[in-house]
Amino acid sequence: MDDEAAPARRRSDRARAVPLLAIAALGVSALIFDLTDPLRLPGDGDYAEAAAALRVQAGPRDAVQVWPSWADRARMFVRSLPVRVEEDLRAADYPGVDRLWLLALPRVPLAKLSGARAALRQRGAVAGEELRFGALSLQPWDLRGPRVLSFLTDPLEEHEVDYVPRQCVQVRIGRPADPGRLQARGQGGVLHVRAGVVGERAYQVARGPVRIEVQVDGAPVATLNVPPTVPPAPGWRRLDAAVPAGERAFAFLVSARDPDRPFCLSAWTTAP
């Protein structure tokens, strides 16, 4: 009888070690994850090499997009090109950028680099050869976007809208009877207007919308309303409109009932 029960007892005894084994396995797994952390992260040398490659290979109409979008330590090393930190690579505008260099940290947890690449492909971008510098990946993407005819706002000035730095200029919001006004001259084509409220005031839902009336050569052609941001709806609003070719006078009239908000506007035209 005892002999028959012995194997079952041994199994039962072994089962008693399971909790400790589980804790040990969890601890060892955690330590492996923790101690291999440096292997997943780029060092200064990796960034310096990537920056050197960009200095050699990048052109004047190139830009760098970091990925994940928070990984902008690259700014300390990449000084020859604009560095973008867009979060939605499919919808981002990148005006005036022909080639985008995706500078990524592919080994960091939850980097989702494949998702970033898929987003670029979805917008019609074509990938070039990927370069690796230690824990950094650098890959050029031909955006194949339309050619910019005129920047109607300064692309060097940036403000945050939807928590992303945007190439846009701050415009005074006026009352409806006395709207803020931004004027510029440029080539007609497809007019792109982007606008949003800067900072946390974008999310104050009790406020009314900001209205932008677009005039070309003195005639209204379109309006863009920027309501308070209620996620997931974007706060960075878009308007695209056709404008007859040739040099044009553009005016953007910005108004709201409650004007005490920092407001940012970007406009440019591209070839049809």
């Binding site: 007892r9 070690a17 909790p19 923790d34 330590r73 980097a111 989702k112 403000h159």
Partner: protein, 553 residues
């Protein structure tokens, strides 16, 4: 078990906090508490010099930081008065923080007492599991209210347990079950009927309970939740014990008296000041808080927010053990096999976290508001760890070795986290989040309270020209002054109101403050940081310098 082990562990905690405090920046709240403590210290000096005047002018000195009761800040003030003003032994900040280390030690002591009711190993594991993560260890250093109220919650629990006779003063740990003996009965496994037969509560135990409860009230309003927990606990106890517990409850009435004595602001016009206190918290602002890719700005908050945050912040081994402890307590509660002490721990832990799951309570500040939740689960977690080692010793593994394996597996990831991240505790994330980079990708609050700025102060001291104006962003003027008084920031460096007003900017990366970085670029004419604190590549503090200034890229 004697008190020697809990006392030794408490002393070790104090020493560890003392030894690792120097790099911990002054968090926003500390700036306010330092200022309040300075005001209270002046009042104490006046009290010693001219008692009548001090009694008359309480409002003038004690209105500073009226939104929190005075005890913790009074202790900060007394420590500063003794160790800095009179003895000149300690720098200002360290003197303010000394009582906080003492509260940390007390927390360890009480957790060890609770753990000791199970076993000697659980007495060690309980505080070790609580402190063995940067998210908790960091808070132990601060002259704030979160660890003190956490400690006093545990202290009230111990005092209550002792007063009603469910805390065995000299428990003999249960011997590990042998393979040949029948498995122990689950019911009341650690509860001995003889504890029910203790004499009526001693007056000193009742007084201690009332004093500790009052101290809790005089530290932070969380303590008001304790009487309902103790009442429910009393009602759920077996009949013989219930009567004794209900007779112990009135000792809690000592608490408001302690609050009144320890908070001189209430000595004049108490109704108005109590009203201001309550009003501040019932109308508390909701700060924006980044959570799983969205900014939470107001209710309703996700119901499981505090649990998810704990899972992301703590090392995974602690997450598993605390989860197992909570599940075990709930399981035994559901099966009516929970001893009165474990029932008390479950109640206190639940009361610490449930208010943050009702979807309207402000949820900013990471895990600090519900630290008592994991503290009160720690004795059970420690016991489970000990039990896992005990079970394994029946398959031939020596018990000492099994305990060592259990301790290493449970604690080493947390110790690594402390070594890796300290003193930047609000930025720490565990393995379930994918570490700090994973948390950044998940869209979790990067940091809070601005203390990480200590990483760049040496750089500013080395590079900023004399009298340079620096925009410190979220560092409030109180903390800025504290850095200068502590010698961590040059005295000539000036506090700028914004990038437009500054030569240097030290920006703290917060999702809701992203507008400040482009604002700095526009003001400075550069987008290239001069230096910064990047934890595992994630930007925490980014420093910009106007071109041409020393240190500018």
């Amino acid at each position: 078990m004697s008190r020697r082990l809990p006392l030794a562990l408490g002393a070790l905690t104090f020493a560890a906090l003392f030894a690792t405090q120097s790099g911990v920046g002054f968090v926003r709240d500390e700036g306010y508490y330092f200022e309040a403590a300075r005001s209270y210290e002046q009042w104490v000096l006046l009290l010693l010099r001219a008692p009548a005047a001090a009694l008359r002018d309480t409002g003038r000195y004690w209105s500073a930081n009226f939104e929190h009761p005075g005890l913790a800040k009074l202790l900060f003030a007394l420590s500063h008065l003794v160790f800095t003003t009179w003895l000149r032994w300690l720098p200002d900040a360290l003197a303010f923080r000394l009582p906080a280390f003492a509260f940390g030690a007390l927390l360890t002591y009480w957790l060890a007492v609770l753990g000791a009711q199970r076993s000697r190993a659980a007495a060690v594991f309980a505080p070790a599991l609580f402190w063995g993560a940067e998210g908790t260890f960091f808070h132990g250093h601060l002259a704030c209210l979160d660890i003190p109220i956490c400690a006093l919650t545990a202290g009230v629990g111990v005092a209550w347990a002792r007063a009603i006779g469910i805390l065995d003063p000299s428990p003999s740990p249960p011997s590990p079950p042998s393979s040949s003996s029948p498995p122990p009965k689950k019911k009341l496994f650690f509860f001995r009927p003889r504890t029910w037969e203790l004499p009526p509560p001693a007056v000193r135990n009742g007084v201690l309970l009332g004093f500790l409860f009052g101290s809790g009230l005089a530290v932070k309003h969380n303590a008001w939740l304790l009487p309902p927990v103790l009442l429910v606990h009393a009602l759920l106890l077996p009949a013989a014990l219930r009567g004794r517990a209900l007779r112990t409850l009135p000792w809690l009435l000592v608490g408001p008296a302690v609050l009144f004595v320890a908070w001189p602001l209430l000595w004049h016009d108490p109704v108005r000041h109590l009203g201001d206190w309550v009003s501040f918290h019932t109308h508390h602002v909701h700060y924006a808080w980044y959570y799983l890719g969205r900014e939470l700005r107001g209710p309703p908050f996700p119901i499981f927010y505090p649990l998810v945050l704990l899972a992301l912040v703590l090392p995974v081994t602690q997450v598993a053990l605390f989860a197992a402890a909570g599940a075990k307590l709930l399981w035994d509660f559901a099966h009516r096999s929970l001893s009165p002490l474990r029932l008390l721990e479950l109640g206190l832990a639940g009361a610490a976290i449930l208010p943050f799951m009702i979807r309207t309570t402000p949820i900013f500040g990471g895990i600090k508001h519900w630290l008592a939740f994991i503290a009160l689960l720690a004795p059970e977690a420690g016991h489970l760890l000990d039990r896992a080692a005990g079970l394994a010793s029946h398959v031939g593994l020596p018990r000492a070795r099994a305990l060592a394996i259990a301790a290493a597996a449970a604690l080493l990831p947390g110790w690594w986290q402390i070594a890796h991240v300290h003193p930047y505790g609000t930025s720490a994330y565990g393995e379930l989040a994918g570490g700090i980079p994973g948390a950044a990708s998940l869209g979790i609050q990067r940091q809070y309270w601005s203390n990480n700025v200590t990483a760049v102060l040496p750089w500013l001291n080395a590079h900023a020209p004399r009298g340079a104006r620096v925009f410190f962003h979220e560092v409030n003027p109180e903390s800025y002054r504290a850095y200068q008084q502590a010698g961590m920031l040059r005295a000539d460096i000036q506090y700028a109101a914004g990038p437009w007003d500054a030569q240097y900017a030290a920006l703290q990366w917060h999702r809701e403050f992203r507008d400040r970085e482009p604002e700095t670029w526009n003001a400075f004419g550069t987008k290239t940081p001069a230096t910064g604190l990047y934890l595992d590549e994630t930007p925490q503090i980014v420093v910009y310098a106007r071109p041409g200034l020393p240190g500018a890229p």
